[in-house]
């Protein structure tokens, strides 16, 4: 099992290979760690309130992570 987070100043929904995996943060602003299988994935963040998320999508190989040190895939909501 692999783990990743999507840090971003704003709140958005994490899309993994085109599928919704829920919000990137909880209501208090804490980052929510997501689980996935090892390998190459496409990750994007759908920012709330009509904001645009950059980069639009990231293709990343997720491997050798654990829940304490998840991979960080950072975004900005502009």
């Amino acid at each position: 099992m692999e783990f990743f987070v999507c840090p971003c100043l704003g709140i958005g929904r994490v899309m993994l290979d085109g599928n919704d995996q829920g919000p990137n943060k909880d209501s208090s602003g804490g980052l929510l760690t997501k689980q996935c299988n090892a390998g190459l994935h496409t990750i994007s963040l759908q920012c709330a309130a009509g904001k645009t998320c950059v980069p639009a999508q990231v293709i990343v190989a997720i491997k050798k992570t654990d829940p304490i040190s998840p991979m960080e895939v950072a975004f900005q909501c502009v």
Partner: protein
């Protein structure tokens, strides 16, 4: 006989032969355009779980009527289980989300998915106590079928499909499952084997998207026939691929999963390559045999669903959505273990015995690996979760100012396997392990299998522990197997 009579007779024979030659398996229809909100998909037929009630996944193995009766026994026991959570009383059977099945187990799973209300009353007479095997043999004596079987596009498995449709499944199709009220029936995953690529093939719209075909009007009997298409007894079942007219793109993970350099998991590469193959120009048809050839437990699909986000019915995705508080997986494994005395003599076993080993040996081995994979995965997830908890404990002790680490694994995992190997009574265990694989079993044998499943569930330490975590007040029912019934089936 006059020359004219001879001529007439020859003409009749010729007409019959030509008509027979025209017989064709029922084509699965083309799908013009893929729609994520239509077709037989988990997200279409099941509401998003609330995360509070257990998410129950059942896997029914192959093994003819033996497997069908054993899995029916599990369903009977689940119907009796009541628990209280958050002050609300529920039946565990109402929490069954997904049933993945193979071969004989597919008759039980399909009938339950189709008729959840009348299942317990009707299924035993409709299938379990019925001599399905003789019914299939009688089809071969019907002259109408002789001519049809002369066609290269119609085989014994298409005849079996018709027979199951007539006698068990009332010609219902996947559309009948789609049209049931949402959440009324569990999501059914019928597994067969694509023999060209030796890979699991499931009868879901997500799989049929790859073929650009619409599953909705495919009869359930056809899917069950494919799932229980025992090699040699039947010929492979054929499906059409419509990849010459595009219906929509492949799911994103498939292209990504084929990258050999960046995917450390060889299973992902194999799954992606298999999925991609349906869009290759030289594939026009799929040929299917028994699901047991690739997974005789029906556990591979659920394992992919709990361990990856690639599965079209990913359970891991539900964990990411915080909708998976408790996952209970129960595998019904009707495998047999024959007592063999070959090694007492120097002469090797005969060809029949060797064929039996060649066919069933690898299946049993793969089944063993499948249960170990699921069990190992759940254990690993629990270990990872405990590591985070321990780490937070240490942080609290030695670095109280530091923020706590978020634990993404909040699911309670339970995995139980029902197998004859766990019957403590040696005579009963051997008796069940020696049962034949056929579609005809004596009534007493069926009854014994039903009660054995209940007994095994109520005596499964994993299941009981899982139930206790769910409802500490819950107590397992004491299931007693009638000694007279054992005597009648197993002899004194």
């Amino acid at each position: 006989m006059r020359l004219a009579d001879h001529g007439l007779m020859l003409l009749c024979v010729a007409v019959l032969l030509v008509c027979g030659g025209c017989a064709h398996y029922p084509d699965n229809p083309r799908l013009a355009s893929i729609s994520a909100n239509a077709g037989y998909r988990y997200s279409v037929v099941r509401p998003l779980p609330d995360g509070d009630t257990p998410f129950v996944v059942l896997a029914f193995s192959g093994g003819g009527t033996r497997a069908a009766a054993f899995s029916f026994g599990l369903m009977e026991e689940l119907k009796n289980i009541e628990y209280t959570a958050k002050g609300v009383k529920r039946k565990l059977i109402d929490d069954v989300e997904i049933i993945s099945s193979v071969s004989g187990g597919s008759f039980t799973s399909t009938y339950y998915a189709l008729y959840p209300e009348s299942f317990f009353r009707a299924f035993p007479e409709k299938f379990l106590y019925r001599d399905i095997q003789m019914g299939l043999v009688w089809q071969l004596f019907n002259p109408y079928n002789w001519w049809r079987l002369a066609s290269p596009d119609f085989s014994r498995i298409d005849m079996a499909d018709e027979y199951y449709g007539n006698t068990v499944f009332d010609h219902k199709t996947f559309a009948d499952l789609i049209n049931m009220p949402t959440g009324k029936s569990p999501f059914l995953v019928l597994n067969a084997t694509d023999i060209s690529i030796t890979h699991r093939f499931e009868f879901t719209q997500d799989q049929f998207d790859l073929l650009c075909s619409d599953l909705s009007s495919v009869p359930l009997s056809r899917a069950v026939a494919a799932s229980s298409n025992f090699p040699v007894a039947f010929a492979p079942l054929t499906l059409d691929i419509y990849n010459k007219q595009p219906c929509g793109p492949l799911p994103m993970w498939i292209e990504l999963g084929m990258d050999r350099e960046h995917n450390p998991d060889k299973r992902r590469i194999a799954d992606a390559t298999a999925a991609h193959s349906y869009r290759e120009a030289d594939r026009n048809y799929v040929h299917l045999l028994d699901g047991g050839l690739s997974d005789n437990l029906g556990l591979r699909g659920p394992f992919q669903a709990v361990s990856t986000t690639d599965s079209p019915w990913s359970i891991l995705k539900l964990a990411n959505l915080d909708k998976l508080g408790r996952l209970m997986m129960i595998a019904v494994n009707a495998k047999t273990t024959k007592q063999r005395s070959w090694d007492q003599k120097s002469s090797p076993p005969g060809i029949g015995a060797v064929l039996d080993v060649a066919l069933n040996g690898p299946m049993d081995d793969v089944s063993f690996d499948s249960t170990e994979m699921v069990d190992g995965h759940f254990t690993q997830m629990e270990q990872l979760s405990r590591t985070v908890v321990s780490c937070n404990k240490r942080l609290g002790q030695y670095c109280p100012a530091a923020p706590q680490i978020y634990n993404p694994i909040s699911t309670d995992f339970t995995f139980s396997e029902l197998t004859f190997d766990n019957i403590p009574d040696l005579r009963l265990r051997r008796c069940l392990q020696e049962l034949p694989t056929s579609f005809a079993l004596p009534r007493n044998t069926v009854d014994l299998l039903r009660v054995a499943a209940g007994y095994l569930l109520m005596n499964s330490s994993d299941f009981v522990a899982g139930m206790k975590r769910l409802d500490p007040a819950w107590q397992p029912r004491q299931v007693v197997i009638d000694p007279k019934l054992i005597d009648r089936v197993c002899g004194r």
